[in-house]
């Protein structure tokens, strides 16, 4: 049973709508006919094994990849829902730097490894127009504390950090601009189990305190159970089963989902 509680809806309009999304590489269809709606405050997990198309889907949803078919629309902060493909590149980049976050599996992809932790967090603030050094440093410090990085490490570069700390720093860098939607690609992959638990607990708290919407790609069903309200199961580029997370995991209907659920090793 899931214990994650749904926050009150701020709006009845979906935040993000995917309609008939598809992407193929030559004759290989990486992702076919995906449609869903995401509401504010909702956390959606996309699960499936390697090659199921889940990472491609995440790239389509976050406009890093253009679909062959279908569209993604997003309700902007001004309440107007826009088709991402119809937006200019500059507009999309601005969205990416402000109202969206993207947490990569490998923190080195989402961080600048050679500059200080404080600068990594501050950079996103400067991108939204903040220019007061003292205020930026203060905000950066408070975010580092929130992700449990001691303030005396603010001037160190993330390459001196452990894997778990880097991932927490990447999360702080993403959340500092108060995005409404965060994409996460295997956020706990490659971390030790104890480090994972700490990160998951932290993400769970942040998501519920900030009322964030999130789309999380993971092959780890435990991550889906702990963090998400809803889950989509992908196989061969298609969504084969979708529903409430605890319902899909406790009462899986499709053969492939039953296989995934039954493949978890008991702890």
């Amino acid at each position: 049973m899931s214990d994650i509680i749904m926050p009150h809806q701020i709006s009845d309009e979906p935040l993000l709508v995917a309609a008939n999304l598809g992407k193929s590489y030559g004759r290989l269809a990486a992702c076919r006919d995906v449609s869903f709606e995401l509401y504010s405050g909702e956390v959606l997990a996309i699960v499936g094994e390697s090659g199921s198309g889940k990472s491609t889907l995440l790239q389509l949803l976050s406009a890093q990849l253009a679909p062959n078919t279908g569209s993604v629309s997003y309700r902007m902060r001004d309440g107007v829902t826009r088709d991402l493909a119809a937006m200019g590149e500059a507009e999309r980049r601005f969205l990416f730097r402000t109202d969206w976050g993207f947490v990569h599996q490998d923190p080195a992809m989402g961080l600048r490894m050679a500059v200080s932790a404080g600068a990594n967090v501050g950079e996103r603030l400067m991108a939204v127009g903040q220019n007061h050094y003292g205020k930026i440093r203060q905000t950066a410090t408070s975010w580092l504390e929130r992700v449990e990085i001691s303030a005396d490490r603010i001037d160190d570069a993330p390459r001196t950090y452990s894997g778990g700390m880097r991932q927490r720093l990447q999360i702080a860098r993403n959340l500092v601009t108060e995005p409404r939607l965060v994409f996460m690609d295997e956020p706990t992959g490659g971390l030790d189990v104890s480090v994972q638990a700490r990160l998951l607990d932290m993400m769970r708290t942040l998501v519920s305190e900030l009322g964030l919407s999130a789309i999380i790609v993971t092959h780890d069903l435990a991550v889906a159970r702990l963090l998400s309200h809803r889950v989509m199961v992908m196989q061969g580029g298609r969504v084969i089963e979708t529903g409430l997370t605890d319902q899909v995991l406790d009462d899986p209907r499709e053969p492939y989902t039953q296989l995934l659920v039954s493949s978890i090793l008991p702890a």
Binding site: M1, P7, H8, R198, L244, D246, D250, P255, Q258
Partner: protein
Amino acid sequence: MIPMIDIRNAEKTFVMHLQDGIRLPVVRNVSFHVAPGECVVLSGPSGAGKSSILKMIFGNYRCDSGMIGVRHQGDVVDIATAEPRQVLNVRRDTIGYVSQFLRAVPRVAAIDVVAEPLLAVGVAREEARERAGALLKRLNIPERLWKLPPSTFSGGEQQRVNIARGFISDLPILLLDEPTASLDAANRAVVVELVAEKKRAGVAMVAIVHDDEVRHLIADRLIDVASFAAAA
């Protein structure tokens, strides 16, 4: 009186695709209703489908056919066909579930595990913690444990944390799956009291209780689940 829960001809079968698609019928023709302030206890032998019925009402198990009507903020929501986010709204504002086991979240303190349902409906943290502490005290969880994550607690302590989490909110429906299974007599008596208070507050409850004494004390009505047996 308008029932809080109104189930009609609900049916559930598991299809096990990994075992050659074998069909395991669980229940069929499940029909009953529960009024506000009433505690209905499901009876019947192990494997008769009692827990499955609770899980279907909560939307944790799917319902293959029939209707599971739940009164939610003045309307009737059919859990059998509701959208996921509708079910999540019903769980936040209408139905609470006390399971046998606590699914502990790593590192979250017991008092916060208990307070969380109140925070979710907008109660201030101070007040939520205060109410959580009061309930933990009633359930004889020593104060020195409140700040610790319950994953290290004994089975009985975990169950009491779980009961506190289930009973803390003011939801109009509660589902209780063996809430007293691993409790001693003193704590069983506390749970019986808590159920009585919920009845007075008009809460509709469906419970599974194996302990005869507790069942006798809380049940307003028994429903024999064997009559819903799906196996031919």
